[in-house]
Subunit: 328 residues, 2 copies
């Protein structure tokens, strides 16, 4: 089977590729070819010589999707996106990449299939940004999407297109509404959500981290490892049972900042916790106030998607996957 990963240079895309390189059997079918695409040059894994290739391509450019689809990949992971903050600031660019890029991909598949029968599986990375407040404390599977960002709007629209193209039989689509991925590896970033990872990752590396919000702030998390697991599971699962509602809110862990910190204390001790510096930031607090806190992700659980059930596990996974098992 030929697997295409679009957005292969992003954090989750890279980890998905690493997993496929290390354990291609995890997909339940033989990977005969692996194409990695991204607007930023992706790196083909050395573990798959002769099978993996990397292409640098901007999905929003004319003809780009057609080129990717011309080789008729059997499974397409579509993770390419302009992130939330950038899509909000650069209105045209956000729509060009997140909406038009996705639509070009779907259209390219439809047109390829009109030429010669073709029915790939398409796994689309959506986001809980499709929800906007006010919403219930625990958002159910049938709650409506009222995004409060252009990014969330673009994701919600792509979910609708994914469902319609699947319903029409152009491809077999599954949309995955990812929780906030935590603990993100790498350096602290300025994203409003960055602190959820920073206050765990930096202390685990012996560094100070800034906490800009109150301990009572609650949010919805899954580890990078769980994120990779969601995509692998979606590729393996029989999508027949999913019906016309092609996008699922994935399971995650609802935790407060206080609960994160308690987990850090249990796993890494008081000296790690002491590295968290409280520096309230009203602007960040206001942004975070509008984010979902908890979900009742019943459908995804029924389909067999799994996430962590304790923040201790999320921290341990970070230590295993990013710190080579070194617990400070």
């Amino acid at each position: 089977m030929h697997v295409l990963v679009i957005g292969a240079a992003g954090m989750v895309g890279r980890k998905l590729v690493e997993k496929l390189a290390a354990q291609p059997e995890v997909l339940g079918f033989e990977v005969s070819r692996l194409t990695l695409a991204d607007a930023v040059s992706p790196t083909a894994p050395a573990a798959l010589p002769g099978i993996a290739e990397a292409v640098t391509v901007d999905l929003s450019k004319a003809g780009a999707a057609r080129t990717l689809v011309a080789s008729r990949p059997d499974v397409i992971f579509h993770l390419a996106a302009i992130v939330s903050g950038e899509a909000e600031q650069e209105f045209e660019k956000g729509y060009a990449v997140n909406l038009d890029g996705s639509r070009e991909l779907f259209e390219a598949i439809r047109i390829e299939g009109a030429r010669e029968p073709y029915f790939p599986k398409v796994i689309f990375a959506s986001s809980i940004a499709v929800f906007g407040q006010p919403f219930p404390e625990k958002i159910g599977d049938e709650f409506f999407t009222t995004p409060l960002t252009s990014y969330g709007t673009q994701k919600a629209i792509t979910e609708l297109l994914l469902a319609d193209y699947s319903r029409k039989g152009f491809f077999d689509g599954i949309g995955l509404r990812l929780p906030t991925i935590c603990i993100r590896p790498g350096r602290p970033n300025k994203a409003a959500s960055g602190f959820f990872s920073n206050i765990m990752r930096e202390p685990l590396a012996g560094q100070e981290a800034v906490l800009p919000v109150d301990d009572s702030v609650r949010h919805w998390f899954a580890s990078p490892r769980a994120a990779v697991g969601f995509f692998v599971h979606a590729a393996r699962m029989d999508a027949a049972g999913i019906g016309p509602r092609r996008t699922v809110t994935l399971p995650g862990l609802s935790a407060t900042v206080g609960e994160q910190i308690e987990a850090l204390r249990r796993v890494a001790g008081e000296k790690a916790v002491r590295l968290i510096r409280r520096e309230p930031d009203e602007a960040i607090a206001r942004i975070v106030e509008g984010w979902p806190r908890n979900f009742d992700a019943r459908r995804a659980l029924e389909f067999g998607f799994q996430a962590e059930t304790s923040f201790d596990d999320i921290i341990r996974i970070h230590i295993e996957d990013e710190l080579e098992g070194r617990n400070p």
Copy 2:
């Protein structure tokens, strides 16, 4: 104020224009100019000499939206659409008109506003086709949109764009999810929903009509007069209170076919009812089975939108507006 009606040659568009020609004061502001646009030549009302003009324009054609917006209308009624059946059969055409046409309009407004400040009110005709089963017997304001047609998908996507463009301050948008309009004037048509009107309109004109489904079938209705009222009310209302959730499910009347027939008996007598011929059609019954039956349209009622509360009224309105008061 300059008022633009796009889709002015459609059934609701025509009635809206007739109303504005007869009682322009109903909008609560002076209409200094009225532009009627449609892909099919609209007819400018004779009642507004020097004010009304008709333009034949296909919104999906390059530059069409820019041309319409160049004259900077203050209020834009956007009712242009390919109907459900055609959008389902002609995939590309449906997306070109219903999605791209709407987006071109929104983009044209955004670009015009970037040139020189411009903030029109945009009233968009959406549809209960954004909902797809399974759904509750009575669909609430926060139920999610899972369309089962390309038409419904295109309407749901346009609702999302309307909300995002409004949120960004490009225009003041309101989306109206119309009930099935009944009693449609004109000749019987082949639309799956046609019989809801046919079994009322034809007997009222002394003609036979075919009923293809069971008396227990329940659906969601408003009269053409109520539909015009929805658009007028949306133009008058202060949209500030509507918040980021820009589309409302409009009020309507939930009635069974049996209740329709009882109303016909009360208003027009047994001889009208006898003109309804029962001819079960499994194909139509199956299509109708998937349609919404009832809504809890609380938000729209709070905003002051009003529909009929009895089918007797819907029939009387048809007699007044279409039959010059002649009750057979």
